[in-house]
Subunit: 448 residues, 2 copies
Amino acid sequence: MKKKPIHITIVGAGLVGSLLSIYLRKRGYEISVYDRRFDMRSNMLGGGRSINMALSNRGLRALEEVGLASHLKGNAVPMNGRMIHDTQGNLTFQPYGKQGQFINSISRSDLNMFLINEAEKLGVNFFFEHKCLEVNLEKTELKFQNFADTISHQADLIIGADGAFSSVRGALQVSDRFEYTQTYIEHGYKELRIPSAEDGTFQMEKEALHIWPRESYMLIALPNSDATFTCTLFFPFEGNPSFQKLSSPEKIRTFFESSFPDAAKLMPTIAEDFRDNPTSSLVTIRCFPWFKNRTMLIGDAAHGIVPFFGQGMNSGFEDCRILNDLLNNHEDNWEAILPIFQQLRKPNADAIAQLALDNFVEMRDLVGDPDFLLQKKIEARLHELHPEKWIPLYSMVTFHDTLSYAEALRIGQQQKEIMEKVMRTPSIEKVWASLDFNEIANQLTSQR
Amino acid sequence: MKKKPIHITIVGAGLVGSLLSIYLRKRGYEISVYDRRFDMRSNMLGGGRSINMALSNRGLRALEEVGLASHLKGNAVPMNGRMIHDTQGNLTFQPYGKQGQFINSISRSDLNMFLINEAEKLGVNFFFEHKCLEVNLEKTELKFQNFADTISHQADLIIGADGAFSSVRGALQVSDRFEYTQTYIEHGYKELRIPSAEDGTFQMEKEALHIWPRESYMLIALPNSDATFTCTLFFPFEGNPSFQKLSSPEKIRTFFESSFPDAAKLMPTIAEDFRDNPTSSLVTIRCFPWFKNRTMLIGDAAHGIVPFFGQGMNSGFEDCRILNDLLNNHEDNWEAILPIFQQLRKPNADAIAQLALDNFVEMRDLVGDPDFLLQKKIEARLHELHPEKWIPLYSMVTFHDTLSYAEALRIGQQQKEIMEKVMRTPSIEKVWASLDFNEIANQLTSQR
């Protein structure tokens, strides 16, 4: 790659592809973005397959950098913590962080359309209904199918931002010595809905992420700015209970009424929604390397993760920010940047993939466990007394964008070991407030 | 799959595809075999990318079942054990098993052409230079490219026997919830050659698999029936030494002369061969499930493994035999057979994949280690005294086709633990002959 690329082709007009096109257009590149789907702005079919996004600090920081964070006002709903619903309908609120720390519930399609519009204003060219058929890694050439036509396209640089089932990665996969894993969890998900009240207000606490943890499965609900909630059932494909078993409207209703009684009351069309909405699977994608010659991967195409830490979009936006930093620091010398980018980001991608899998267990099971809640309380106190020394794992990942995912994972593992010892203190539930918090926090510091 | 399939389409005319076509043709099916490559019978280009095959009991049993084992006479060279070459050119012979137990060195292309010829005699139809472009898993339809033509083909059942980079598996990979991993080791391989002597005889011991173990790399040589040896260098891609570093004829010759002095003398064209022959990589493929609707995978397409246990072809042939057994036992009810086949074979595929990776360490490093050799001697004695109770791992895998790979792996792990304890006996090198072999063998028995 002797000459500086002028024309960059991005495959995928999703959240990461669109944001990246803005970053790169601002640097002066000619950008074409191709996407296999129709233009969602002209042809909005709406939801059915996507949980709401939880935008947090890492993603927000990238939006701020390109000057677009103000879009959140009026379009995002802040969520200050988890609202846990037990089987009796009792509620427990667990704040996500300190006062003033929250994550943002935002519609995937709203944010995506906004980013595409902003990119177009800057002069990015979008080509929808162009399915990527082939990527020639030697010639940096693409073939697209647009209805009956096959279109060849020559690029200076190709960036695959085409998601977990990336076509661009498909070309890398058949190149020599490409490490690749796709692995599914045993749960799938189905999107459901809680409408607004008749007077147009929220039917549950608005500024929270609602969770109905049931050990082997869970329901969650995120607020929308139109006072509805988008709910997602994470549920085993097989076994009992499972998607396979809920095979009739009666079984569905009975199951929801016994497992999520308070939610069921707010979901009058549950049986129909359950039948009509697709059941989707949950994949983790790991691969390496992330580039070959002048073709690279970014976002889910490089590192598809499960949604349980709310970091899929945030990690992809962070990819864009880090790539832009590297372009700043290396005078747009892509040949130098590509190996550094993957070397920097791969350990963080692996870390957030693991953290996301771990957090499913926390969300569906532990958040309903008294010992776990006590541990959270102790950690919150540690953080209060030693705000720089002891930052809970959730906060490191969600609110501390200066800590990498890999560091968060490493420190989180140390914290876990320390807390396991602390929780073995006799009568911990009675004596916890008089623990030597200084000594506990210092165990961590000495290890860092 | 209500009706019995009549027309079975096999993709891949390699060793497994050809043998499978024979098995199935004998059951009365109409069989078409498609392969992307030219017909090697009419257009023999020869080697360059394939180590010789080591046919052992599992593969042999399948050949016997279809009445084709007699082909080995005159075409295979028996190898009774390993001949270890140290850096001084000193030789140590390690028998593979008991007297009369050996593996068979056979040319991949010879055996493949023989199987294709036999299949054709039975009425199997082969279509070469047909590249599989697409598999429709819903309609059991294929698209092939034959030069400028695209050919659609409807099958009753599709079997992907198209190797580690299977196109048929490509279709399964993009179907929902398909688990898939491709992972490479850090070594590649290059095929080299030791010619026959001027009088047409072998230049080294004929009935052995020669190994030059050098810890981080190794050279091996297998005898051919024309008195030449096919050598394979297994060598790191990067680091020192590595393929990357051997960048000139001088460096190549110097390296061979210092690392493999006795072999180097027998390889007059080493620098040219090294330059002209390709460097290939070594992949392990793991996936699941092995079928969807009426399309299934077999052999390397389902479970590509590294070659270090000499079981790639043998495990594929065993797949064919087990599938044929199931067809016998279930009256050719494929709908019943497909789930049973994968359930039976997947644990064995995983086991041989692991055993093959482990055996690389043994071949390139341990076989040169005195402790390891002593351990082998003790195990040989154990086997001699308790032939049914204690069968060394190599023998279980290679000579005992009634033990599954998964059982061999499990028993081998127990043996390893027992032998680690035995090897910690003070002055084991002096006292080993007076160990209580009965007691040692019984430790294993009680665990089984």
